[in-house]
């Protein structure tokens, strides 16, 4: 697990080649995991398609809520209808990318602990967090992320936006930071299963937090805003990328804040994970 930190001062050239060797090894492991996931999904094609329908339905449902809200108002703060539609699209996009790579793996962690199957993963000669986090890929989520992109493009047309290449690249970079935040927080929550074993309630709870990410930040004030910006940065995750894309950004501060928070969240989750694993006593009988 800690093989990278064993040699603190290797030679320059040796160090570089070691990193590439490491990277290519991990990439080939990840490719194998992908192959497994594809095979698994294709075993249940009907189910695979139905899950896509479910996600589309929930996506439509969020949009209908916004539709109803804007029947009764012109704007929420300074956010107009199509800007909020774009926000919902971006939020869905980030959530689906997170789901594609990490979600099932995070929710499975409590099961791994409960059944004691984590033993086998701890024994593998790779970083345990890497295998635990990336074991399965949810392919349907990529399709859903596509629908979110289509919606954002449509909203951009309604807003007569013509974002520059820099804006689009910046948007994608911020989305990655958002995915990192979702992943870190969810993984941290899932690590609680080392303490209470049945952590589904907690993991389910995180679903509720996704709801906040798709609301326009200007609606919030006071303690709520502080908590969900600086402690659980849900109000940054999708609001900042959309602000960048929709020319709603005045200063670079929110961008820097989002990037900084993603690093902080990742470090905290790594610390939480290490503390939790130390507590692990195999549960197999």
């Amino acid at each position: 697990m800690k093989s990278e930190t064993r040699n603190p001062k290797p030679e320059e050239t040796g160090h570089a080649s070691r990193i590439t060797r490491h990277a290519s090894r991990y990439l080939s492991i990840y490719a194998a995991l992908w192959k497994n996931s594809v095979a698994r999904e294709m075993g249940f094609k009907g189910n695979f398609l139905l899950w896509i329908v479910v996600e589309l339905l929930w996506f439509g449902l969020q949009l209908s809520f916004i539709g109803v809200l804007y029947l009764h108002t012109e704007h929420i703060g300074t956010w107009t209808k199509w800007q909020v539609v774009m926000l919902i699209g971006a939020s869905h996009f980030i959530q689906q990318i997170f789901q594609a790579f990490f979600l099932i793996n995070c929710t499975n962690l409590s099961e791994l602990v409960r059944s004691g199957k984590l033993d086998f993963l701890l024994l593998l000669p790779v970083n345990t967090r890497f295998v635990v986090s990336l074991r399965q890929v949810d392919l349907g989520a990529f399709v859903n992320a596509g629908s979110a992109v289509a919606l954002m493009a449509y909203a951009a047309r309604q807003l007569h936006l013509a974002p520059s290449v820099t804006q689009v690249l910046g948007f994608l970079g911020l989305c990655i930071a958002g995915v990192a935040i979702h992943y870190s927080l969810m993984f941290l929550l899932a690590s609680i299963s080392f303490w209470t074993v049945r952590a589904q309630g907690i993991v389910w709870g995180y679903y509720n937090l996704f709801n906040i990410a798709r609301m326009p930040d200007e609606a919030f004030r006071g303690l709520f805003k502080i908590v969900f910006t600086f402690a659980i940065p849900m109000l940054l995750v999708s609001n900042v990328p959309v602000r960048l894309l929709a020319d709603k950004i005045e200063s670079p501060r929110p961008i820097l804040l989002l990037l900084a928070m993603s690093v902080v969240c990742f470090c905290v989750s790594e610390w939480g994970w290490r503390t939790s694993v130390r507590r692990y006593t195999s549960a197999s009988s």
């Binding site: 809200l69 009764h72 703060g77 389910w204 004030r221 709520f224």
Partner: protein, 268 residues
């Protein structure tokens, strides 16, 4: 009758084991609610003071969401449908075919015990929340309305349970029922008034929804409490709600009987 009391008792004890789980659910569940209230408050402020959305003033809107959350805590099916589906899939129902106990009543008892435990655990956070919003929170229109509200809430719980039970019966025929459950839940979520009061929708859409059971799964009791439904509408609504409960009950029974014929005890 006595055996079912035992089931309820055991169910409560089982559920209490996971009280932390319930508490997490109750507290996390309040977060999106607070978020929605913030959004509404911003909308009301933007529209000018004293403005209304549909027939709702801001305090009424806040009360609406608090009530929805309370009725939901009292009536929502939590994991019952998954458990029933799992019982069927894993062959655990075989033992019920041999025992002098009816599976539907058995599950209903477990559902009740689940609700009792959930309410016991969730009361504290919910009450704190209601106290925090006391400036906005409304008392019921009158005593009679409150009585009808309670009756309607019980009917809501039964309707929710029987619908979920019937839905879980799909497990006799398909391997993976969660997608179907989620599809139904999506419709319930929006059409039962979870997200917004149904009477702020365009009139024709609201009327159309009343031809489905969804408004009776959550919205209806709250509309009684708030005095939005009264007089002959109220009596008719309660009758229709009762009719839906009976229909869902027979659907559940029917699906079970058909399913048993199809059932080939796997494992068990």
């Amino acid at each position: 009758m006595k055996k079912y009391w035992h089931v309820i008792n055991i169910g409560i004890q089982n559920n209490l084991t996971y009280r932390f789980n319930f508490l997490a659910r109750a507290i996390f569940g309040l977060v999106p609610l607070v978020a929605i209230l913030y959004v509404w408050k911003t909308i009301y402020n933007g529209n000018g003071s004293g403005s209304r959305v549909g027939t709702y003033s801001l305090p009424e809107m806040v009360s609406y969401y608090v009530l929805i959350t309370m009725v939901d805590a009292l009536t929502a099916v939590n994991e019952d449908d998954w458990q029933i589906a799992a019982d069927i899939k894993d062959g655990n129902i075989s033992q019920f075919l041999l025992k002098p106990i009816d599976y539907l009543w058995y599950r209903l008892c477990l559902f009740l015990s689940g609700r009792v435990t959930y309410v016991a655990v969730a009361t504290l956070p919910l009450c704190l929340f209601a106290v925090y919003l006391h400036r906005y929170f409304m008392l019921p229109a009158n005593g009679a309305a409150f009585g009808c509200f309670l009756i309607s809430t019980v009917l809501t719980a039964l309707l929710q349970f029987f619908t979920s039970y019937a839905m879980a019966m799909l497990a006799f025929w398909v391997l993976e029922v969660s997608t179907f459950i989620f599809i139904l839940y999506a419709f319930e979520y929006v059409a039962s008034g979870h997200l917004f009061p149904l009477d702020i929708l365009p009139r024709w859409l609201e009327q159309a929804l009343y031809f489905t059971p969804f408004p009776y799964q959550l919205y209806f009791p709250v509309s009684i409490y708030m005095g939005k439904t009264s007089g002959p509408d109220l009596a008719r609504g309660l009758l229709i709600q009762g009719a839906w409960v009976i229909a869902a009950y027979f659907l559940a029974r029917f699906a079970w009987r058909r399913g048993i014929r199809h059932y080939s005890a796997v494992g068990g």
